[in-house]
Symmetry: C2
Subunit: 663 residues, 2 copies
């Protein structure tokens, strides 16, 4: 129940009855030129549509006094993100999901059935917007929202790439379904699905599926599109840009490391934003090019401190927004979602109103939704956060779509639970039982495939592309390419001489040379590569995950082939998840049965499993603060410089496969 | 020919050949549920479409050096409207219509066939945008552009209401056709067609025609929509709002005089802007409500000086834009178009960069076109003005869609001429010859129609609604309602006792009581009202025009019935125009044969005709600086307080017809 801060004039159930209204429009659309062609209903999200005639008329009537407001927040100090002012004695009258009136007379619009919140001494700020989230990790939307909603985040735009590889187009639709009709607004962006794996590349969503997604109101555009393929005039990517922009939607950029002419060329291609700058100078260069900059403070990167020097550069920051780029569950639970990012910006010395603009109106404009969200103004969605002051971003009330969804960090409305269908729980298409022999690295005298080519004619089991590029002796020393994990996320190519005994290369924990294996579980089930990596420092055992980025691989790292096979088999048994093994037994695991990416366990349980995983991995020697994150990113083509997939090793600078064996 | 400031590396004709490219896409659309149902081709404007894949690829190639720029502006100081910075040594590389690169290395993108402009010591600013123009007055688009283009205005959004009444839906299409493929971008907005006349109201464009317009790329939304009908929940207006916003387009507001709760209610209805505030306080109130404010400096109003105090209020001005709201031809020729408004803003003390934002990026964002125009950035249209400095808005070069269209105020590219079809020259559907007797005001004993009702059963010829509302004596004194022109545009109701002789009321120039007559020329041809007006101070003669706002009337004011009939007959003979008569002869006239609104004469000739009209009207006694403007606005429902049409007198506050005779 609402506590007495809400002067409840009607019963709470009445209030809910007024505000929980489901109006969904559906339209019939058909797949065209798609093998999976069948008619299906595409839901149009109620909460992102423009208001209908009845709502429009009701707002007018409420403002002029012909009808009463459903909710009135009175007597607060309004943070006006349009003018940058603090306006005292201001209130908001809400009708249905929208704001009917903002000003000093909101109290007059309350009737006997109106819920009234007295915000005396409080600040009224618009709901926060995260325009670049990664929600398709670990926990379901509903579990994520249990913690996100209470802090004031009322709009989230999530990448969908994580579900797109293991579950395909239908998986994207299912995930969007789980986002639909939640107490806050959730949008998706279409994954460009850049991948290292040529096998996976053949299975990505097709143009007609992209068009179907672009027709949805809950799809705002194309997700982060890495710059290098664009400069190489990647035809598919440029066509995706074209389709998206032609549909009136936005292209989210990803220009990590780009500058000067190359950055300008990338900007000319039509991208609207970049979330990758890590210094104030990089931010400024992008702002000057007319790009929106989405400054990151989340799981993979915490850039805000370095970027915060932009505030001293005396430039217009209206195209600067704050985002998480994905948030760790621990961070979500302990610090919160966008409220934590905003708090940090203020703590770093950004003017509070400027910082609030960076999580409200600026991102709304970036998304092209500033006619509906991002400010407290008539006609906009009633997404309002009541704060004690502008130094403490601790929401006392969170109002979303006109409803009080949280009060004093307690949820007043529960997020919708979603049960994913059974088919999403069978993403791992591997039936065989892996044995230690599957993780042997055999180097024989046969000729390997040409560099950058496909498949591997190697005789060894598993196939080792590049093994035997030159006729090598069965015993002695051989030089090979090794992934060198030089930082938590960054890898480099290292070249190491390793002993060859009986045509085999073994892991050598003393030199921190571990085996790494990628096994495709879906696009080319069973296709496998085994190589070497250093940096993980495991003394024994193995770790494995199905959450490998940007393809459908189980990636495993280990010392002992027995533990590697055990870890991989356990991931398969779980139909997805992350596992730590040693000495022939499973030490920790995170089951992720939906597409190998998502759990439907409570967030707290997943968090505990994650902590156990990290503890176990650290126990084996891992130096990384989030070993699972470091493991899963090894397959991504968007992080420099040396990566891996079931087809072998890849140099990210050239986007080409390279041989494991040098000579 | 271009002079030597352009380092021409190829022949000028080559340059034109490169840059004059016409690519038009057409799509078949059909009317639905419309009586005029037939398939027609709706042109999609090339210059407002998103770029195609080839253009996108060419920009990339040009920036990275694989291909050469068509045009390079080098070595200037860039006014960066995104960051607010002045960046020295900056240049722009242009390919086709778009910007491929902005930065210090633009010169490197030039090849042997590139036109290079050395902008050393010059400022580079984005092309200016007028988001609220009225171009359908007097001169054709081509003639308007001869003067507008040379000053740096590269995007114009015009109201279309003027052509919509006399020429209907097809007239709108024809007018848009004349705007299409000009050297600058011209967009239209759909006229809401609010009118005093119930006869005209039956003839306005229907919902299917509105939908057809909304599908066009050169229609950005709904034109200025007066606030009072919205607050009265005018169903048709709210449906227009709904259609427009649902189509992803904008609603231009018109909230003259609104404030407080009523203004907030109007904002809640979905309008995106208002161009009517006349003080800084009114501007601030609208900005606070999340509205874009379009500050006017044009023909009907010059608000900028009063509004300029907003600059001292220390508020964020990113939602403030400058517009003309229509510009007098004299002002256009002598001072220019948006460059004059920008110059005035700077002269009034606005920071020059802020002022430039107010005519570039701010209006682009308001229009939802900031991904394409409003800034000098990669991927945007190459709309660039080269200025000597920021205190003198005198364009040395104007580049639009990648072409140099003007240099040192001389056009380098001529606007397209448009010949309107013959049917547009027969808008005046009056065949009878008017005689002095048609302008008699007879008051008889019959009962008039009920107040606010339709038509008039009065026996007099012409019908005088309200005459005889009470049984009046044929001779003596009678109290009547008179339009009191209290300012150039503002009218009030006055009540005057006038002598009645033989059942007739005469004009009395000694008391400044003149006859005013409205004759519908199209919706209800021949329907006429004759009343009284004061303020025009004519001592003799008559003035008449077919340019009456917001309906299809010839409106005439005069002393002598002979001159009234002569003036009206001459307007009919001209098939539209404005006429001054006295002593039985025409003293001056402005022929406006296209819809009674437009001439296809050269602008200079129309200007001269206009000056002769004003001189002649002033000679007869008119105290108004622009007598024709004051005359034509008498029929508008959007200007307070007392108006007229062929049906009688209207009180604007109640939007109701009132009787001429009080008792």
């Amino acid at each position: 129940m609402l506590n007495n801060k809400i002067q409840k004039r009607s019963s709470f159930s009445n209030f809910l009855a007024i505000t929980i209204r489901g109006e969904f429009k559906t339209e019939k659309v058909g797949f065209k030129n798609s093998k999976k062609a069948r008619a299906r209903t595409v839901p149009i999200k109620r909460e992102v549509s423009v208001m209908n005639l009845q709502e429009r008329t009701q707002l007018l009537r409420t403002a002029v006094g012909r009808e009463k407001a459903d909710l009135a927040v009175v007597n607060g100090t309004l943070v006006n993100v349009y003018t940058g002012e603090l306006l005292e004695g201001y209130g908001v009258a809400v009708r249905g999901e929208r704001i009917a009136y903002v000003g000093k007379e909101a109290g007059e619009m309350a009737g006997p059935d109106t819920t009234v919140i007295d915000a005396a001494g409080k600040m009224l700020v618009p709901g926060f917007i995260d325009t670049h989230a990664h929600m398709c990790f670990y926990c379901s939307v509903g579990e994520f929202l249990r913690y996100s909603m209470r802090g004031g985040t009322t709009t989230i735009v999530t990448e969908l790439i994580e579900v797109s590889f293991p579950l395909g187009f239908q998986g994207i639709i299912e995930y969007l379904e789980s986002c639909r009709n939640q107490p806050v607004k959730i949008f998706g962006v279409i994954p460009p699905m850049l991948t290292l794996s040529s096998g996976t590349r053949k299975k990505i969503i097709d143009k007609e599926q992209v068009r179907e997604l672009l027709r949805r109101d809950d799809i705002l555009g194309l997700g982060e599109s890495y710059w290098l393929p664009i400069l190489e005039e990647d035809r598919r990517m440029l066509e995706l840009f074209q389709e998206t922009i032609q549909a009136g939607k936005i292209v989210a950029g990803h220009s990590a490391g780009a500058k000067g002419i190359k950055l300008a060329a990338y900007a000319a291609s039509g991208v609207r934003s970049c979330h990758e700058p890590i210094t104030a100078e990089e931010v400024l260069e992008r702002l000057r090019l007319g790009l929106y900059v989405l400054a990151r403070e989340g799981e993979t990167r915490q850039d805000l401190e370095d970027i915060s020097r932009i505030k001293d550069m005396k430039v217009d920051l209206q195209n600067l927004a704050l985002v998480t780029d994905g948030i760790a569950l621990k961070q979500l639970v302990e610090k919160g979602h966008m409220e934590a990012v905003l708090q940090k910006a203020i703590d770093l010395g950004f003017d509070p109103v400027t910082a609030i603009q960076m999580v409200t109106i600026n991102p709304a404009r970036y998304l092209g939704l500033d006619d509906r969200i991002g400010g407290i103004a008539p006609g906009k969605y009633a997404d309002i956060v009541v704060l004690p002051d502008l130094q403490h971003i601790k929401a006392e009330y969170v109002i979303s779509n006109g409803r009080v969804i949280a009060q004093d960090r307690e949820l007043r409305v529960q997020p919708k639970k979603n049960i994913f269908p059974a088919w999403t729980r069978h993403a791992i298409r591997l039936t065989k039982k892996y044995t230690p022999a599957d993780f042997l690295i055999r180097v024989s005298g046969c000729e390997g495939p040409p560099e950058g080519g496909e498949g591997s004619p190697g005789e060894s089991s598993p196939s080792v592309p590049g093994a035997g590029a030159t006729a090598s002796p069965a015993t002695g020393s051989i030089e090979v390419r090794v992934i060198d994990q030089v930082a938590e996320l960054v890898t480099q190519e290292a070249r190491c001489a390793v002993p060859l005994a009986g045509g085999r290369i073994e892991a050598d924990p003393a030199r921190d040379l571990l085996k790494i294996s990628c096994i495709d579980f879906r696009a080319s089930p069973g296709k496998q590569f085994v190589g070497l990596i250093r940096g993980f420092k495991l003394k024994k055992g193995a770790i494995a995950t199905s959450m490998a980025w940007d393809l459908t691989n189980i990636v495993a790292i280990g010392v002992a082939d027995e533990d590697l096979s055990l870890a991989v088999n356990r991931v398969i048994e779980l139909q997805g998840g992350a596992v730590v093994c040693a000495d022939g037994r499973v030490l920790a695991e995170i089951p992720l049965p939906i597409g190998g990416y998502l759990s439907d366990s409570p967030l707290e349980e997943i968090l505990r499993q994650g902590e156990e995983f990290q503890e176990a991995a650290a126990g084996l020697g891992s130096p990384f603060p989030n070993t699972h994150l470091t493991l899963m990113t090894l397959t991504s083509p968007a992080i420099p410089f040396f990566r891996i997939c079931e087809e072998g090793l890849f140099d990210i600078r050239t986007n080409k496969r390279v041989e494991f064996v040098i000579r």
